[in-house]
C-alpha cells in the first residue's frame, strides 16, 4: 500500500516537473498556429478584389505595391513591369451608383457588374477596387487580379505597419522591430553604467547598514508594477522631456528608454552583484597583498573575474526591456514609423500587440499578424534567454580551470 502511494506521488511529481516544458510547448503551438495563418490570407482586404483591363500585363501585385498605387505614389504601370500606361485608380463608391439610374442598375443591382465591366473595359490603365459580389466575372476586357498571399518577405521586410489600410493592409514589421531594439538598447546604455556602479557599491563598498537599506529598496523597485512605472513616466518623465528638449510631444523613444532603464536596473544590479560576490576571497587578498589598492582590485581582478556574470546581467536586462509592454505603451507615443532619432515617437512590438489586439477582428489577417509579432517576440526572448544561459555556463567552466 505504502509502495503504491509512493509510486503515485512520484508519478504526479514527475508530471508537475514537466509542466513548464508543457506550457512552453503550448505557447509555441498556439502562437504559431494563429500567427502562420497570416501567410494563408489574401493581400487584399477580405470581401474585395482588384480588377484591371486585359491589356494590362501585370499579373500580381505585392501589398506594398498596391498601397503605393492607391496612395498615388506609383502612377505608371511601366514601373510595375506592365505597359506604359498611366494608372487610373478606381474605388467603388456610392457616387458611382448615383451616376446611373435605378433602371440601368436593376432593382437588386444585378446589372452593376456589367456597368463596372464597361468602365474597366474603357480605361486601359485602370485598377478597380470592388466588392467581390459586384466583380465583373467573365466579361470581355476585364481581368481580376490574382489574389496574392501575404508573404514572409512582405512581413519581415516591409517598412510600413498600417493594418487598417485599404485595399491592402500593410504588415511590415521592420519599424516595430527597429523601434523595439532602439528603445531597449538605449535603455541598457543608460542602465548599464548605473547598474554596474550600484552593483560594485553593493558588493564591495557598502557597509552592513547601507546594504540593509539598498537590498530591499532594489527588490521593491523590481516589484513595482509596470503600469505604475508607465503612469509615472507619463506624468513626470514625458513632460520633463518635452520641456527640456523643446519638443512638440514628450512621448518619445527617449522617454521609453528612461523608464525601461529604471525597470531593468534591479535585474542588472542583482545579477551583476551576485557575480561579483562569487569572486574568491583568495583572489582579492592576493591582489591586495601585491600592493594593489581596493579600487585597482575591483577593476583589475573582480570585474574581469565576474565579467561573464555581468554580461549575463546585461543580456537579461535587455530581455526584460524588449518584452516590457505597458510602460512602453504609455510613454513612447506609438507611431509605427522607422525611428530616426531618440526624440521621435516609436512603437515597439509588445506595445503594438497590446494596443491593437483588442480592435483586431478575431481570426482576420490583422489578428494573425499580431500573433506573428508575438512569435517574433518569443523568438527574440528565447535567443536572449539562451545566450544568457550560455554566457553563465562559460563562467562555471572558467571557474573549473
Amino acid at each position: 500500500m505504502k509502495r503504491i502511494l509512493e509510486r503515485i506521488v512520484e508519478l504526479l511529481l514527475t508530471i508537475s516537473g514537466a509542466i513548464t516544458t508543457i506550457v512552453i510547448l503550448l505557447i509555441v503551438v498556439f502562437l504559431f498556429r494563429e500567427g502562420l495563418g497570416l501567410f494563408q490570407s489574401s493581400n487584399v482586404e477580405k470581401g474585395y478584389c482588384l480588377c484591371v483591363n486585359t491589356e494590362n500585363t501585370v499579373l500580381q501585385l505585392t501589398p506594398f505595391q498596391i498601397k503605393q498605387i492607391f496612395d498615388e505614389e506609383i502612377d505608371n504601370w511601366e514601373k510595375l513591369g506592365g505597359p506604359d500606361e498611366e494608372i487610373v485608380v478606381f474605388r467603388f463608391s456610392d457616387s458611382f451608383l448615383d451616376s446611373y439610374s435605378e433602371e440601368e442598375l436593376g432593382k437588386n443591382l444585378e446589372f452593376l457588374p456589367e456597368k463596372l465591366g464597361e468602365v474597366i473595359r474603357g480605361t486601359p490603365g485602370i485598377i478597380a477596387y470592388l466588392p467581390v459580389q459586384y466583380q465583373p466575372i467573365n466579361q470581355r476586357g476585364v481581368r481580376i487580379l490574382q489574389d496574392g498571399k501575404i508573404k514572409l518577405s512582405d512581413f519581415l521586410g516591409g517598412s510600413e505597419w498600417i493594418p487598417t489600410a485599404t485595399p491592402s493592409p500593410q504588415f511590415g514589421v521592420l519599424p516595430l522591430i527597429l523601434g523595439t531594439l532602439w528603445v531597449s538598447l538605449f535603455a541598457i546604455l543608460i542602465a548599464l553604467p548605473l547598474g554596474l556602479g550600484v552593483a560594485i557599491y553593493l558588493s564591495e563598498l557598502a557597509g552592513e547598514q547601507m546594504r540593509k537599506i539598498l537590498k530591499p529598496a532594489i527588490e521593491l523597485l523590481a516589484g513595482i508594477p509596470s503600469v505604475v512605472y508607465g503612469f509615472f513616466g507619463l506624468v513626470i518623465i514625458v513632460p520633463l522631456i518635452q520641456k527640456g528638449f523643446h519638443l512638440p510631444v514628450g512621448e518619445t523613444a527617449f522617454a521609453g528608454s528612461i523608464i525601461l532603464a529604471i525597470m531593468a536596473l534591479p535585474t542588472i544590479i542583482t545579477v551583476a552583484e551576485d557575480a561579483m560576490q562569487t569572486t574568491p576571497q583568495a583572489m582579492r587578498e592576493a591582489s591586495l597583498a601585491l600592493g594593489a589598492n581596493h579600487w585597482q582590485t575591483i577593476y583589475k581582478v573582480i570585474i574581469p573575474y565576474s565579467i561573464s556574470g555581468i554580461s549575463a546581467a546585461v543580456v537579461l536586462g535587455i530581455g526584460r526591456a524588449i518584452g516590457e509592454t505597458m510602460a512602453v505603451l504609455m510613454v513612447t507615443g506609438n507611431a509605427a514609423v522607422i525611428p530616426h532619432s531618440l526624440f521621435e515617437p516609436v512603437r515597439t512590438i509588445p506595445a503594438t500587440i497590446a494596443a491593437e489586439l483588442g480592435e483586431a477582428p478575431s481570426g482576420g489577417p490583422h489578428y494573425q499578424a499580431l500573433f506573428m509579432l508575438g512569435c517574433i517576440l518569443f523568438l527574440i526572448t528565447l535567443v536572449v534567454s539562451i545566450s544568457a544561459e550560455i554566457i553563465s555556463k562559460n563562467k562555471s567552466q572558467a571557474k573549473g580551470i
Partner: protein, 280 residues
C-alpha cells in the same frame, strides 16, 4: 593621477550612484504617495467609478484583482510547489533535470504580453471560456509559475542534506521524508515565495488585457465566467484613455497608490517572514 585619488574619485561616484538609485525609488514612491494619499478614503475604496471615471471609487477593480489573485494562486501554487519538489527532491542530476531547468528559466523570460496572446488563443477562444476570471486566472497562474518554482526550489535547497539522510536512515521512505521533514521545515520560505508571486500577479496588466479585464463594470462578478475590472488595467485606462484625462488624474493617483501599497505589503510580509522564521 595617483592610485589613491583615483580610488577616492571612483568610490565617490559609486556612492552617488547607490544613493541615486535609492533616490529614484523614493522619488517614484514619494510622488505616488504624495499625490494619491489625499484621494484615498473609505468612499474611494468601497464605491464603483462614476461620472465617466472622473468620480467615485475603485471597489470593483479591487474585488476583481482579489478574484484574480485567488484564482491564479489556485492554479500556480500547487503546480509550482509540486514541480519544485520534483526537481529538487526526486529528479537526479541527469539531462532531464537540466532540460527542465532551462525550460523553467525560459518560461520565466517570456514577456507577459505573450502570455496574454497565448491565454487569449487557448483559454478565451479555443476552450471557449470567453473573457472571464477563469481565463485570466489560468493565464496569470502560468505566468507566475516559474517564480513559484524558483522560490520553492530555493526554499527546499536551503534545508541541509543531513536532515534528508537522517530521516532516511531512520527508515522513513522518500515520501515520508519529503512530507514530514522537508516540507514543514521549508514551509516558511515557501510561503515567502508565494507572497512575492501574489505581489507580481496583482500588478500584471498585459496578460489580462485580452483574457479578463473589463473597461467599466460596476457590478461584482458572480461566477468564474464573469469579466471583472482589475486595478492595473484600471490604472492604465484612466491614465491614457479616459474621457477627461485631467479630471480623472486624482483617481489614477489613488489607484496607483493602492497598487503600490499592495506590493509594499507583500514585500514587507515576505521579508518579515524571512527574518522571523529562518531558523535551522
Amino acid at each position: 593621477m595617483n592610485k589613491k585619488t583615483s580610488q577616492q574619485i571612483a568610490f565617490i561616484i559609486f556612492r552617488i550612484l547607490g544613493i541615486f538609485v535609492v533616490g529614484i525609488l523614493f522619488w517614484i514612491l514619494g510622488f505616488i504617495i504624495y499625490n494619491g494619499i489625499g484621494v484615498i478614503s473609505w468612499k474611494f475604496l468601497t464605491e464603483p467609478p462614476s461620472e465617466g471615471m472622473t468620480g467615485g471609487g475603485i471597489f470593483p477593480a479591487i474585488v476583481g484583482t482579489l478574484c484574480l489573485i485567488a484564482g491564479s494562486s489556485i492554479v500556480a501554487f500547487p503546480l509550482g510547489i509540486l514541480s519544485a519538489i520534483y526537481t529538487s527532491e526526486y529528479a537526479g542530476n541527469g539531462y532531464i533535470i537540466k532540460f527542465i531547468r532551462i525550460m523553467t528559466n525560459n518560461l520565466g523570460g517570456i514577456p507577459s504580453i505573450i502570455f496574454g496572446l497565448f491565454g487569449m488563443s487557448l483559454f478565451v477562444n479555443t476552450l471557449g471560456f470567453g473573457d472571464s476570471i477563469l481565463a485570466g486566472s489560468l493565464t496569470l497562474g502560468l505566468l507566475c509559475l516559474p517564480l513559484v518554482i524558483r522560490t520553492t526550489e530555493e526554499a527546499l535547497k536551503a534545508i541541509p542534506d543531513s536532515f534528508r539522510t537522517g530521516s532516511l536512515a531512520l527508515g522513513a521512505s522518500k515520501l515520508q521524508t519529503v512530507n514530514r521533514i522537508i516540507l514543514p521545515m521549508a514551509f516558511p520560505n515557501i510561503i515567502t515565495g508565494l507572497i512575492l508571486s501574489i505581489g507580481r500577479i496583482s500588478g500584471e496588466t498585459a496578460p489580462i488585457l485580452f483574457t479578463v479585464a473589463a473597461y467599466f463594470l460596476p457590478k461584482l462578478p458572480t461566477s468564474i465566467f464573469d469579466q471583472v475590472m482589475a486595478l492595473p488595467y484600471h490604472l492604465y485606462v484612466i491614465a491614457v484613455s479616459g474621457t477627461d484625462l485631467e479630471a480623472s488624474r486624482p483617481i489614477a493617483y489613488g489607484t496607483a497608490l493602492v497598487l503600490i501599497v499592495i506590493v509594499l505589503i507583500m514585500n514587507l510580509m515576505a521579508s518579515f517572514l524571512r527574518r522571523k522564521l529562518k531558523k535551522y
